[in-house]
Subunit: 148 residues, 2 copies
DNA sequence: GCTAGATACTTGCGCAAGCAACTAGTTCAG
DNA sequence: CTGAACTAGTTGCTTGCGCAAGTATCTAGC
């Protein structure tokens, strides 16, 4: 029984580590982005994802999956960003149920301004986490992931 | 410049992967625990953390750190669990500002019932994530973390 | 061409989280 | 011994999330 129980415990331990690391990084990013650009972490993630789709559009559903959010949350998220003029909704020509979202110039500018803050905060959060014994191995593993 | 920029991009990519994996696992755990025991993921984490502190007590602050929650959220979280009779508050004798929390028998029973659900869901969520190309390397890395 | 069912998004409602202000208990300088 | 500074926890207010229900559009079978 030992072997199987061990596997369960290893997974649970890994999950706790993952959750802890995620939580601490997210908290720091949240503060930094909020202060510098009045953006939440998910909002930044959306802008970032859209900018990455260079020249291509994303539908609400894709956005929902990319952010691990429900579709209703995605609707409101896009509403907020649209109200601030950071992105626009574009109706699909071919499937009129679908809606594309696209960064506006303002959105691109804001993202450009937020990106260095995001990257630096991420770096320092990872550095801080690396000095926590429980998190250190996961941080190392993160850095060693295959470079796409 | 290439090298430094690469490092930034690798970190950002790693963070997106981490966030995606965390999000998908949390969503599945949330559903499963909600359905089987009417517990949220954080609530389970609290019960689990308390049971792990075998014979030892935790203060609100520790709990807050362990769950990556604010202290106000921790207060209300403990309130919910206390109202359901899953744990009890115990005033510190030495520092009367402090409050210890302890699992009740009911809490232990519920945790015992929820644990297999939690573990199985975690296992299947990891398995599912392993078949997503972007997540696979991180899942592998998780399993290979040092066994404490 | 029309109706039944699926899909894409939006909206109403209740819950939980964070921040800031508050209370109660502790510590320490003078 | 007294009051100022600090710490632990709680409470009021606002905000964002998920679920479930609703609307609009698309697709298939007859």
């Amino acid at each position: 029984m030992g072997i199987k129980d061990d596997a369960v415990e290893v997974r649970a331990q890994g999950w706790r580590t993952l959750a802890a690391l995620h939580g601490s990084i997210e908290a720091e990013l949240e503060k930094a982005l909020q202060a510098s650009s009045d953006l939440s972490v998910v909002e930044y993630a959306v802008l970032d994802a859209l900018s990455r789709q260079d020249g291509w559009h994303m539908r609400m559903q894709q956005l929902a999956r990319a952010t691990a959010l429900s579709s209703s949350a995605t609707t409101r998220l896009v509403n907020r960003l649209e109200d601030r003029g950071l992105l626009t909704r574009i109706l699909c020509a071919d499937d009129r149920r679908g809606i594309y979202t696209e960064l506006t110039m303002t959105g691109q500018k804001l993202l450009e301004a937020a990106k260095p803050v995001h990257d630096e905060t991420l770096a320092s959060a990872l550095e801080a986490a690396e000095s926590v014994p429980e998190l250190e191995p996961l941080v190392r593993a993160l850095g060693a992931l295959q470079r796409v």
